[in-house]
Symmetry: C2
Subunit: 179 residues, 2 copies
Amino acid sequence: MKFCSHCGSDAVTFSIPEGDDRPRHLCGGCGAIHYINPRVIVGVLPYLGDRVLLCKRAIEPRLGLWTLPAGFMENGETSEEGALRESWEEARANIRVDDLYTVYDIPHINQVYLIYRGELTDTNFGAGPESLEVELFREEEIPWQEIAFPIMSETLTHYFSDRREGSYPLHRGVITRKL
Amino acid sequence: MKFCSHCGSDAVTFSIPEGDDRPRHLCGGCGAIHYINPRVIVGVLPYLGDRVLLCKRAIEPRLGLWTLPAGFMENGETSEEGALRESWEEARANIRVDDLYTVYDIPHINQVYLIYRGELTDTNFGAGPESLEVELFREEEIPWQEIAFPIMSETLTHYFSDRREGSYPLHRGVITRKL
């Protein structure tokens, strides 16, 4: 942040406001404090029988790699609504949500993932503008070396393991920066 | 947002960028799109035996009403770390977290709540700067008419019900604007 979005001043510093304990974008002109907080990524693990739907990314980052449909939660929606919206946008997928499935923190990039689990209600899915391809994969067909994000690999691993057990508890985790 | 935080221009409109489907704060000067997304509130339901710890708010909104310790998640922390940080800041409470307990969406104010459940490890709690008082309450002592936020009433109701059952599954919910 170079300029204050309230008053337009260029006197914005990254310093600790009085009474606070960490630096914020602080305007020396009007005194406004601009808070920046983590963002929520919402998505779905869509399944049909023994297969899971993945999207091949048409955009950076990780263009050409596979992921579960997910994206930034928008204002005015619930996390479940956002997850279904992303599934439609990226995979044209119609889904009946079962439950919240994984909650992951990724603190080094200030993100919280909420991934739901849901059954495809039909097979009329297809690539949205942010996907190159959308396909159903059995466990042994998953392109593990071409999964875009660790959170998605972990969610898929939990799913196939839980499927064998016949029970789908909520899983929590933290993705840390690789050294 | 009146001024662009990238270039300082006052030509910021709230309009739909090309290729998008909803209005954003869009700078007519440099072309920057300023996304605003929901924020995450993290907190804890701290218990000890058959009692739950509540904080009487020293700040607006809802000054003088009771709540579970909670606040905005900060960049660089996990949701569990944030929940413990808020418990310390508001109630000087030391807690051993059991698990994530409630996930609530409040879409009309663009918030997602993640409330953990955890046992107090000692009774050395006390009011932090944002609390007037901090107290332990048995179920029959809870000031139900003086709870600051509906999400907190719902979380407390789930807790005492689950305590009778001896099992604490994750609860999800949506708080909608009262008509």
